[in-house]
């Protein structure tokens, strides 16, 4: 039976134009720029110096702090620069630049395509190894995987939910991964189950990918505890909270985490990366990037080394079209437009979407007509028109009362607004401000408590 989440949701045009193109290995570029911050949290600390010779898979920057991730070299060659570069948003970030020489891999990495079935490590070893290998959530949020797998004391994980939804229009990298590397994904899920000590895993896949559902259902008969749950097509089903609701019927209370209802969610891409990290000793140095878009000559799914420039990836997929209006990192709903194309592909780049001039223009904004369509589609049950207005008027307390912090920034409200109002822009601004106020209050309370002691 098809399931889906209960509140809201929209049906944008699917446009999965690259669904039929199988994964291609992109040639190694002549130079890579590996950013130190490819994850949520503090940037990693570089441990190589300019002039050092590195191998593929060698650790080049160490995680700094609890929520941070290791960074490994994706190529072999010489470190030429460790400096600031302009990232996709136009702000400065630091990166390690490596000039490629050959393709020499670290000896510990198993490069064969043999499937390794046995899981030898204990749960705690698996988690620490995942941390070592620099794994982050591959869906785009880039939360360090080992942190997510460390269940806080006093809480119990009952389900592992695997996100194979890929609800963003255009993107097909997870779809291709499930079709071409289903076996590896399954073993990856088994490893994750071992790490979390759970015996139930549910793979949620939307029914616009019947081939993937069929393939994984067949495979799942070999693996005890793993079931495939076909889901009704609806955006944003790939949101953590929506997916848990769709798969288990459990709803996460406001301000709580998935673990509070006994679930941990991981992306299929992450499961594959876990398989490679644990069974093949391969750190997260390459990922499948869906390079797509209507004006693009050859929409493809490419296996790209981290640090390759976006421009080169687009060139490989047929070159930048004349009619190019915007290039977006991620999907059309939640992605961000690049300010320039000399930006490296990172661990979180799930897609590169090229839009033509007409598509990329925002329609003219009109007044709010109080139709409440945004309220109807909000998957978190919020009132987007109201909180965006409160945020525009800097009424932070009221915005917080109306649960602005629950917004998952899926963009359904923007999509559905008949007046084309930039609702999410204002809500995001409000979330930043309210978040800062809450953090300041928490810090103050902590200071006061410390002083009391």
């Amino acid at each position: 039976m098809l399931k889906t989440f209960k509140i809201g949701g929209i049906h944008p045009e699917e446009n999965k134009i690259s669904a039929a193109s199988s994964i291609e290995v992109m040639p190694i570029p002549s130079e890579v720029k590996i950013p130190l911050a490819q994850h949520i949290g503090k940037p990693a600390q570089p441990i190589v110096a300019v002039g050092d010779v590195v191998k593929v898979g060698q650790l080049i920057a160490k995680a700094d702090g609890f929520v941070s991730a290791n960074v490994h070299s994706s190529v072999s060659g010489k470190v030429t620069k460790i400096e600031d570069f302009i990232d996709g948003n136009g702000y400065k970030k630091s990166a390690i630049v490596i000039a490629v020489e050959g393709d020499e891999w670290d000896d510990s990495i198993n490069r064969t395509s043999d499937i390794v079935n046995d899981i030898k490590l204990s749960p705690s070893d698996i988690i620490s190894k995942i941390g070592e290998m620099g794994l982050v959530g591959m869906g785009g949020a880039t939360f360090p995987t080992h942190v997510k797998l460390s269940v806080p004391p006093g809480k119990k994980c009952e389900f592992l939910i695997i996100n194979g939804v890929e609800c963003e229009p255009y993107l097909t990298s997870d779809h291709r991964l499930m079709l071409e590397h289903g076996e590896e994904v399954m073993i990856g899920i088994k490893i994750l189950m071992t790490a979390l000590s759970v015996d139930k895993a549910i793979i949620g896949i939307e029914n616009n990918k019947p081939d993937a559902i069929k393939h994984l259902t067949e495979l799942s008969s070999k693996y005890a505890g793993i079931t495939v749950q076909p889901l009704k097509l609806k955006y944003p089903q790939g949101g953590e909270k929506q997916l848990i609701d769709a798969c288990t019927g459990r709803q996460i209370p406001s301000g709580k985490l998935p673990i509070d209802v006994g679930a941990v969610v991981q992306n299929v891409g992450t499961a594959y990366a876990v398989y490679e990290a644990i069974q093949k000793n391969k750190p997260l140095i390459e990922r499948i990037v869906c390079v797509t878009g209507k004006p693009l000559q050859k929409p493809s799914n490419l296996l790209v080394r981290v640090g390759t420039s976006v421009k080169e990836a687009i060139n490989y997929a047929g070159g930048i079209p004349e009619d190019c209006g915007k290039v977006i990192g991620g999907g059309p709903m939640m992605g961000r437009a690049f300010t320039h194309l000399d930006v490296p592909v990172t661990k979180g780049t799930s897609g590169i979407l090229v839009m033509n001039k007409k598509e990329s223009q925002r329609p003219e904004v009109a007044n709010c007509i109080r139709c409440a369509k945004c309220v109807g589609v909000c998957p978190m049950g919020l009132e987007p028109y109201l909180i965006s207005k409160l945020s525009g008027k800097s009424m932070w307390d009221e915005a917080q009362e109306h649960r602005i912090m629950d917004c998952i920034e899926c963009g359904s409200c923007n999509f559905t607004c008949p007046s084309n109002r930039p609702l999410l822009d204002y809500i995001r601004l409000g979330k930043n401000k309210v978040g800062a106020i809450l953090r300041a209050k928490a810090a103050e309370a902590k200071c006061a408590a410390d002083a009391k002691k």
């Binding site: 302009i86 948003n89 136009g90 702000y91 400065k92 961000r336 437009a337 300010t339 223009q361 925002r362 525009g392 930039p422 822009d425 204002y426 995001r428 601004l429 930043n432």
Partner: protein
């Protein structure tokens, strides 16, 4: 007729009785407020801008009445005459303060800082800044959507459509600092208005190296240090490739602005220079050579 008289009589008696009750109640529960608070408040602008650090003009008046001395407390928007008047009411001394004004430290007009991107999102600096660094090559400069204009209670800052920059109206600005807080790029600074309104400031905050800054904006401060060398009062410091003039040390000699190769140092309310000034010698070509020499370094 009779009923009318009775009604009038009853109302009159009732009125008198209630008046007596009210009188006694008001005597009994009287809250004493220093009458000077109202007098002081009447002299304040009444815009409740918050520039003084208090929630509004009434709170400031209260605090000023209670304060022992007025050196650290007061309305940034009041003139010295008003401050003297307030001090007189409160029977306190007031030291002559230097009035403040907001200055916009960005010189990047549309002409010198061409747009490299098109932004069609929400028209707000804070939102634009959260999306990206800006629609020009300079990631430090004015975005021009006017968040500062929206917060100004004195109608003292406006967007100039021709230049794409915001401009402060000298007569109206009280230096409350609301705009400086609202600016996500931090380019608005509250500085001394200066004697006769004369002041000098570096109208740029670009921290990029000279060549990069110059590429993005022809009138960016390239951090060449010519001004700092020229200054005899050690008022100019160069940090992160951008010059800063300390208004407490600056003696308004204008030597720095004369040598600035990119004209990034602005002079306000000065009389025109004599015809044979040094300013003419420094033109764009010298700016270029300085930027290039930095690049080669």
């Amino acid at each position: 007729m009779n009923s009318v008289l009775i009604t009038i009589a009853i109302l009159a008696i009732l009125g008198c009785a209630l008046a007596v009750i009210l009188y006694f109640v008001s005597q009994k529960f009287k809250v004493y407020e220093d009458p000077r608070i109202a007098e002081v408040e009447a002299l304040l602008p009444g815009a409740n801008c918050g520039g003084c650090g208090f929630p509004g003009c009434h709170s400031l008046a209260e605090a000023m009445t209670k304060a022992d001395d007025l050196s650290n407390i007061g309305c940034p928007g009041s003139s010295d005459a008003v401050k003297c008047q307030i001090a007189k009411i409160l029977g306190k001394e007031v030291t002559a303060s230097s009035p403040k004004i907001a200055v916009v430290r960005c010189n990047g007009t549309c002409a010198v800082r061409p747009k490299t991107l098109t932004y069609d999102g929400a028209s707000s600096c804070a939102i634009a800044a959260s999306h990206f660094s800006g629609d020009t090559g300079c990631s430090y400069g004015c975005l021009g959507f006017g968040d500062c204009v929206n917060v100004c209670k004195f109608d003292a800052i406006h967007v100039n459509k021709e230049t794409g920059l915001v401009e402060v109206v000298e007569e109206k600005c009280v230096g409350c600092g609301a705009c400086a807080k609202a600016c996500p790029k931090g380019i608005i600074e509250i500085r001394n208005k200066g004697p006769k309104g004369r002041r000098l400031f570096v109208s740029c905050v670009n921290k990029d190296k000279g060549a990069t800054a110059m590429k993005a904006c022809k009138s960016a401060c390239i951090g060449c240090g010519k001004c700092a060398k020229e200054c005899s009062f050690e008022a100019i410091t160069i940090e992160n490739n951008v010059a800063y003039i300390d208004y407490n040390k600056c003696k308004l000699c204008r030597k720095c602005s004369a040598v600035c190769p990119t004209h990034a140092i602005h002079e306000v309310n000065f009389p025109p220079r004599p015809a044979t000034s040094v300013a003419e010698k420094s033109d764009a070509s010298s700016a270029k050579s300085v930027a290039e020499s930095q690049k080669s370094e």
